[in-house]
């Protein structure tokens, strides 16, 4: 190999915690060659982002300490004086971050923010920089560049903001681009566009890329070489193809085993647990699959939820957000129906409307034979006993000032299902059921990890012995390995207790694992619904196809699928007052498989 662009040796970064230096990155070393893309992967707490910040010397002095050696084109960065380091930042190394929504200054126009890098590093005057900004916007495929350069960040979508960030990072033709989880906050179709863009630009400009991610699918899509990190240390480094076919370290094998691979369950009808460790293949079928041919316990018909938008001088209603439009489906006992779609498609609102946590505008929700839309407060409360919800954020969904035991016991007391010592016995049994122990009851939520908290939430949901659980992105915030465990727990519980799940998720690979049937939502409507294998193997709606194609597959062999550099974005579900929905029809395309006419 020629001299690498970036070489990192013995990098150790520590943070000062209560007077002591705590190493967060320990003795990490790797190199990035010219034009090469190196992915740094790891779960939360692996130190991958801190590694990037250390290379850029963006770790706050006094709080953090960086030791070791970081050489850019042979020049040591860690001992460079501040002024010279500022020339490197943005000049020789460009960086983009995870949160495009907050990474741009809200009070300055995007054009100005990009031009700033040009005047700073390339000595351009205002006019030159302005012209160059337009060229850069064209490069990152921002349509209508001239007009958009003069706008402020808040009028840009997340994907467009990330394009602006890329334009800014590439403004000075850096030798190296550091991308810190640049697509994690984006929808899967937008993620595909941004990955494609980075790849194209790399070819056009010939820069190296350090790509930090937790997503093995993204790694397979983009990386030439992979560095795997665990708890601040590098545990494995290998060319991408080699890593995916023959992982050496146990942790890498575990990580790959925990990653769902879309298409792995083709031709099977039922959900599958994640394999326990490092075996590939579909994984064992949960035995004693409950009978799902019974009647629907949940029957949703023509569900519609709109939010009015106010504006103007007198706060008139200026339009409606059609969050959910005429949605109909049914869930049978012991069955999992997955609602998939991208952000803003109305899948979460659908779940909340069913429980009437938000008030639907129209439609019928029949649960265990009772129409919830007509239920009074008492009947609704009774129905909510049998229908529980598990949320996305395991940190937010537990009251921080309540012990775990009292959080799980409270619904039992409130609904009078037990009292006194019985409650504690029930709490203990529930904790056992979700794989925790009864001594956990006296602890507070902050003493638990994310995965454990999600188990606690599940235990609390089960306290009322529900027949249906609405799981709203319940595993999305968890690390891959934890995600696999929680999914397995949910599948086990389904088998044991005959639970039905309405599994709301944007992650199609996980959905393939857990669901019997899938409904795809777009702009508040279900565009396709059917048995899981039929929808995934034989998608009939163009949007379903686009969604499935966008999912990164954790297998470098499938790379090279070109999706084209389209910069289209989802339309908005905001409609003016008086808008009427065009007549739509669902067409039968297979057994239980329906698709909206398009």
């Amino acid at each position: 190999m020629k001299m690498p662009i970036l070489s990192v040796e013995g990098l150790t970064t520590s943070f000062r915690v209560e007077g002591e230096w705590l190493p967060v990155v320990r003795n990490v070393g790797f190199a990035i060659g010219e034009g090469e893309t190196v992915a740094v992967v790891g779960e939360s707490g692996s130190g991958k982002s801190v590694t990037a910040l250390s290379i850029m010397r963006l770790v706050q002095q006094g709080v953090g300490r960086v030791e070791g050696s970081v050489k850019l084109g042979g020049r040591e960065l860690l001992t460079l004086d501040d002024a010279a380091m500022r020339d490197v930042r943005g000049g020789e190394i460009g960086m983009i971050f995870q949160e495009p929504m907050t990474s741009l200054n809200p009070v300055l126009t995007v054009g100005f923010q990009v031009a700033e890098a040009l005047t700073r590093h390339r000595g351009m005057d205002g006019a030159e920089a302005g012209a160059e900004v337009l060229r850069l916007f064209d490069l990152v495929r921002i349509p209508d560049a001239r007009r958009r350069a003069g706008e402020h960040p808040h009028s840009f979508s997340g994907g467009m903001r990330q394009r602006v960030m890329i334009a800014m990072a590439l403004a000075c033709r850096p030798k190296l681009l550091i991308a810190d989880e640049p697509t994690t906050a984006l929808d899967v179709t937008i993620q595909a566009q941004i990955l494609e863009l980075i790849r194209e630009l790399q070819n056009e400009i010939g820069m190296s890329v350090m790509f930090i991610t937790h997503d093995m699918g993204v790694v397979a899509e983009i990386a030439d070489r992979v560095v795997v990190m665990l708890k601040g240390e590098k545990v494995e480094e290998a060319p991408a193809a080699e890593l995916f076919t023959a992982p050496k370290h146990g942790y890498t094998r575990m990580l790959l085993g925990a990653v769902p691979k879309l298409g792995a369950l083709a031709e099977t009808a039922t959900p599958r647990r994640f394999p326990a460790m490092a075996q590939t293949g579909p994984g064992p079928e949960p035995d004693g699959e409950p009978d799902r041919r019974g009647d629907a316990i949940l029957d949703v018909e023509g569900l519609t939820t709109r939010f009015s938008m106010h504006g103007g001088l007198f706060g008139r209603t200026t339009g409606y957000v059609h969050a959910v439009e005429d949605v109909s489906f049914a869930v049978r006992a012991g069955e999992t129906l997955a609602l998939v779609g991208e952000s803003g498609c109305g899948k979460s609102t659908t779940g909340r409307s069913i429980l009437r946590l938000v008030e639907p505008t129209a439609g019928k929700v029949r649960f265990e034979g009772e129409n919830l839309m007509e239920a009074d407060a008492a009947a609704l409360r009774a129905a909510r006993r049998r229908m529980q919800m598990i949320f996305q954020d395991p940190y937010g969904s537990l009251n921080p000032r309540q012990t775990v035991g009292s959080a799980i016991g409270e619904p039992i007391r409130v609904h009078g299902l037990a009292n006194g010592v019985e409650v504690e016995e029930k709490v203990a049994r529930l904790l056992d059921l979700v794989g925790l122990t009864r001594e956990h009851a006296l602890r507070f939520p902050h003493e638990f990890s994310g995965g454990q908290r999600q188990r606690i939430c599940i235990a609390r949901g089960l306290a009322l012995e529900p027949s249906l659980i609405v799981a709203d992105e319940s595993v999305s915030a968890l690390d891959a390995s934890i995600k696999a465990q929680v999914v397995n727990l949910m599948l086990d519980l389904q088998r044991e207790l005959g639970l039905a799940y309405l599994f709301i998720s944007h992650d199609i690979a996980v959905v393939e694992r857990v669901s019997h049937r899938i409904a795809v939502m777009l702009l508040g409507e279900i565009v396709e619904i059917g048995p899981r294998d039929a929808v995934l193997s034989n998608p009939r709606h163009p949007y379903t196809r686009k969604l499935i194609e966008a999912v990164p597959v954790p297998d470098p062999a499938t790379r090279g699928r070109r999706r084209g550099l389209i910069a289209d974005e989802l339309q908005s579900p905001v409609r003016p007052v008086g808008w009427t929905r065009p007549e739509r029809r669902m067409v039968t395309v297979g057994p239980e498989h329906f698709v909206m006419e398009h």
Partner: protein
């Protein structure tokens, strides 16, 4: 932008109406009798009735309310019961002195407070930060009349640098400045204490934002990041809070005017209180309401200028 201005303007009118209503009812609903308050409890029933009729207090409440509102709109705020001259004239006569004092204090407060707050935030948990924080905390612990009395003791009585009584009527600029100096320093320093604290916490908030990290990653110099990227964002909450502190500023200006014996709304309202000039008090409430609403309007509009997100909403 025009829509935004119109909207805020409409909002200001509604607020004005609401405050006047609240003030009117607070005064009327309280279990006190203005006539009794004016004449004292030894007054004869006949005298009380006569006064009630003169003040219109014998009318039904809604009639009084409508008359009050109508009067405010057409500028008929009644006649002072002490001087016999229209209330609005008495107020307009002293208003410039009060406005001069509060405006100068506000400028002084911002000029001292904003840079101090920024400096304190940038040097967080270092010595300058501690000193600034303690000083500003001490500053806002002073009741305005206490600090005024202390300033008077030190600079006017002990050092004799300034007059003990400022007339506020000086004709030459240096006279006016000399009269203004101590009261403005008193109000301005208290204001600076408040503004320092708000600026500091706003700046700390901004320094933690992702876009500041972006600016660092772009290789910008520290000073550029602070002044170009951070300050304008930090000013957004500062402007809001300064608007909220207006009430404190007005209250403090009353106390300051009393201590320095400076003509202005403060002395007028105290005089009206002592002489039980009921119509004058009512007029004072109207003028204070007008000032408050007007300043809030200005705050809102400034806000729109600083924050581009406002214009589009």
């Amino acid at each position: 932008m025009t829509a935004f201005v119109l909207k805020r303007l409409g909002f200001a009118v509604i607020t004005l109406f609401a405050v006047l209503t609240i003030v009117f009812f607070i005064v009327r609903v309280l279990p006190g009798d203005p006539a009794m308050a004016i004449l004292g409890d030894q007054a004869s029933q006949a005298a009380l009735n006569a006064l009630r009729a003169r003040l219109g207090l014998d009318q039904p409440l809604y009639v009084q309310y409508l008359q009050f509102l109508g009067g405010v709109v057409v500028g008929d705020w009644g006649v002072s019961m002490v001087s016999g001259r229209p209330v609005i004239q008495e107020i307009l006569k002293v208003l410039p002195a009060t406005l001069e004092l509060t405006f100068v204090s506000l400028v002084l407060g911002a000029a001292v407070g904003i840079p101090l707050g920024v400096w304190s935030a940038v040097r967080r948990n270092k010595l300058p930060d501690y000193i600034t924080r303690m000083a500003s905390l001490l500053g806002l612990s002073f009741p305005a009349f206490v600090s005024a009395v202390l300033l008077l003791i030190v600079f006017a009585i002990q050092l004799r640098w300034f007059p003990v009584i400022s007339s506020g009527q000086g004709t030459t600029l240096s006279d006016r400045l000399r009269d203004l100096a101590l009261p403005a320093v008193n109000l301005g320093l208290i204001m600076a204490a408040y503004i320092t604290r708000v600026s500091r916490s706003a700046m700390l908030e901004v320094l933690n934002q992702d876009y500041v990290r972006t600016a660092h990653a772009k290789g910008l110099a520290f000073a550029t990041i602070i002044w170009r990227h951070c300050l304008r964002n930090a000013l957004i909450p500062v402007v809001t809070v300064v608007g909220l502190y207006l009430g404190i500023l007005i209250g403090n200006s009353v106390l300051t005017e009393i201590v320095f014996n400076r003509p202005g709304l403060g002395k007028l309202i105290i005089g009206a209180l002592n002489q039980r000039d009921y119509t004058m008090l009512q007029g004072m409430m109207v003028i204070y309401t007008l000032i408050v609403v007007l300043v809030n309007l200005i705050t809102d509009l400034t806000y729109g200028l600083i924050d581009p997100r406002i214009k589009y909403s």
